[in-house]
Amino acid sequence: MSVALASILRVSSVEPDQSARGSAAAGDAASVCGVAAAGGVAPAGGDVLVSARGLTKTFGGFTAVDGIDVAVRRGEAFGFLGPNGAGKSSTMRMIAGVSPATSGELRVFGQDPASHGPAIRARLGNCPQADMLDEELTVQENLWIYGRYFGLTKAQTRERATELLEFAQLTDRRADKVEPLSGGMKRRLTIARSLINNPELLLLDEPTTGLDPQARHILWDRLFRLKRQGVTLIITTHYMDEAEQLCDRLVVMDRGRIAAEGSPRDLIARYSTREVVELRFDTDDHADHVDAVQGLVGASRVELLPDRLLVYTDDGDATSADLHARGVVPLSTLVRRSTLEDVFLHLTGRTLVD
C-alpha cells in the first residue's frame, strides 16, 4: 500500500497532463531518431527499464518462452512480433509481474518481480490481451475503482478518469454499464484503464485488435503522444504496419525464441529485399506457378502463399518486365516496397518454397 501510494503521489505531484518524470527529453529524442536514446542525450538516457536474461517460462512440460534476452530502455517503444503461440503474451505477463518466471533473470525498474511485485506493478500500466473489465460496473466506475486499487485518492482518480474518458472517446457513454459496449469500445476502455496510474512503462498486448481503422489511427496518435511525454511502451502486435509505425525497436519471436532483433528498417534491410512483386494467378493452387517465376531478373527468392506468390527483388519493375517477356500472364501484378510482413514471413519459417 505504502509503495503504491508513494510512487503515485510522486508521479501525480507533477502536472498530470504532462506527466513528465524527468525523462521526457529522452522520450523526445527517442521518437525523433527512431532508436532509443543512448547515454548522454538526457539525464535518464540509456536507463534500462526492463532487462531479461535467459528468461524462460514453462507450463507443465511445454516451454512457452525459451531463454530470451531483452533490454528495453526508458523512452523507447519496443515491440514483440510473432505468430500465434510464439510466447509474446507469456513474456508480457512476466514483465507485468502477474506470472512468475520459471528460470532466468528478469528486472523491471531494476527490481525482481518475484520479490517486488507490488512496487513494480504500481509503476506500470498493463493492457492485457483479454479485456477483463468489471462488467458489473459502469464505464466511469471502472476507471474510478481501478485508480483506487493503485492507492490514488478519490480526487486524483476522478480527475484522471475524466481525462481518460476523453482519451478513449467514451465520455458520452461514461454512465453506461460496460457489458453492452461494443468490442472496440471495451478495448479502448481497457487501454484507458491501464493509464489510470500515470505509468512510466505501458505494456500493451495486442492493443488494437478489434478496433476499426479509424480508432486504430487515433490510438496510434495517442500512443505517440504518450511516448513524447516519456512513457516507455512495450507492444505486441500481429499488425506489421502497426509495428513499423510505433516501434523504435522490435524482436521477432517464434516458438518461444527470439528470431531477430532490430529497428523496423534494420530488419527489412537485413531479412528482405528492397521490393516485392505480388502475383495472383487464376488458379486453385498457386504452387503450380512457382516454377514459372523462378530466376527472374533481379529476383532472389519466391514465397508461396495460399492466394498469391511473392517475388523478392531489388528492382520490381525489371522483374515484372522479365516476367512479361517470358509470356507469363498473372491475373494481377503489384510492385511494392518490402515491409515487416516480409521479414516476418521469412523469419518464422512459414514459407513453403525458398
Binding site: A96, H116, E136, E141
Partner: protein
C-alpha cells in the same frame, strides 16, 4: 487512506516481499491513515478495503438482494418460533434452563442466517468473479495481491452478513425473544460466524471448476442447518452421534449465540469462539494461497 500494516504484497507461497527502493515518495499520513492503521487488517492485505469498496459500488446496482437476505431468517423466526412454538411451548436448554421455543430457536436462526449469507457471497459470487468475470486477474495487475482479494471478499461477505444479523436482532428484540443483556454480544458473534463461513466458503470455491460443484456446498450446508442443535437441544440427539453434531462449525456458532442471547455464559463460549476464529484464519490464508496458485501462473 495511507498505508496499513502490510505492503499490499502478495501473500502466501513463501515469497519474500520487499518494499525498499520506491519508498522515497511523499506519503501523507493523516488522521485517516492512522485510523486505517488501527484497523485489524492482516499483514499483506492493506489494499483489501478497495476490494470491499468495489463490491459496494457494484452492490448499488443490485441492492434488491439485501431485502431477500434479511427477509429469509425473519420468515423462519415467525413460522418456526411462533408456529411450532404454539405446539412445543418450552424447551430445556443444554445450559439447564427452560425457555419458550421461540426464545430457544431465535439464536440458532441468527447463527444460521449469518452462515447462509456468508456462504452465498463467498461461493456463488466469488466463483463468478474468479472463473467468469476474471475480476481478480485484473486486480492482480495492480498493487493488489491475493491476500488483499481474500480479505476484501471475506470482509464484504461479513459486512453484508452483519447487516442482516443486526436487522434480525432488532426484530427478535421487538418480538420479545431476547432475554439477556449478553445479547449485545450476539452481533459480534454473528460477525465471527460470518467470517468463519465466508473464509471456508471462499477457500472451497477456489477448488471448484463448474457450477455443478455447488451441489457439494448444498450437501454440506443443509444437514448442518438442520442438525447442529439448531431446532432441538443437543441432549435430544442419540449419544452415539453427539460428537458428530459437536464437530460441525455451525454447532459452535449456534451454541455461542444461544449462550449469549439466553445469558447462559460460561467459559465454554471461549472454546466455541476459538473454533470459529481458527476456521476463519485457515480459510482466509488458504483462499489467498489458492488464488495465487490459480491466477499468477
Amino acid at each position: 487512506m495511507s498505508a496499513a500494516a502490510g505492503d499490499g504484497g502478495r501473500g502466501g507461497g513463501g515469497r519474500g516481499e520487499g518494499v525498499d527502493g520506491v519508498g522515497g515518495g511523499i506519503v501523507k499520513v493523516g488522521v485517516a491513515g492512522r485510523v486505517a492503521r488501527a484497523l485489524p487488517i492482516p499483514a499483506g492485505a492493506g489494499l483489501a478495503r478497495w476490494v470491499l469498496a468495489r463490491n459496494l459500488l457494484a452492490f448499488r446496482h443490485g441492492w434488491v438482494t439485501l431485502v431477500s437476505g434479511f427477509a429469509e431468517p425473519v420468515f423462519y423466526l415467525f413460522s418456526l418460533g411462533v408456529g411450532i412454538g404454539a405446539l412445543v411451548h418450552t424447551v430445556h436448554t443444554d445450559g439447564g434452563s427452560e425457555v419458550p421455543y421461540a426464545v430457544f430457536v431465535a439464536p440458532a436462526l441468527l447463527a444460521s442466517s449469518a452462515m447462509n449469507g456468508a456462504i452465498m457471497d463467498s461461493t456463488f459470487n466469488v466463483f463468478f468473479k474468479l472463473r467468469h468475470a476474471k475480476l481478480y486477474d485484473s486486480m492482480l495487475a495492480t498493487p493488489i495481491g491475493p491476500r488483499d482479494i481474500a480479505v476484501g471478499e471475506i470482509g464484504w461477505a461479513v459486512l453484508r452478513g452483519a447487516l442482516y444479523s443486526a436487522a434480525f436482532l432488532v426484530v427478535a428484540l421487538l418480538a420479545g425473544m431476547v432475554t439477556s443483556w449478553w445479547a449485545l454480544l450476539a452481533l459480534p458473534a454473528a460477525v465471527l460466524i460470518g467470517l468463519a463461513f465466508a473464509a471456508i466458503g471462499m477457500f472451497a470455491t477456489t477448488y471448484m471448476t463448474s457450477w455443478q460443484h455447488f451441489d457439494y456446498i448444498t450437501l454440506a450446508i443443509q444437514p448442518m442447518f438442520l442438525f447442529s442443535a439448531t431446532f432441538f437441544p443437543l441432549s435430544t440427539y442419540p449419544e452415539g452421534i453427539r460428537w458428530l453434531v459437536q464437530a460441525t462449525p455451525l454447532y459452535h456458532g449456534v451454541t455461542l449465540e444461544r449462550g449469549l442471547m439466553l445469558g447462559e455464559v460460561s467459559s465454554a463460549l471461549a472454546g466455541h469462539t476459538a473454533y470459529l476464529v481458527v476456521l476463519g484464519v485457515i480459510g482466509a490464508l488458504g483462499a489467498a494461497r489458492r488464488i495465487e496458485r490459480l491466477l499468477l501462473t
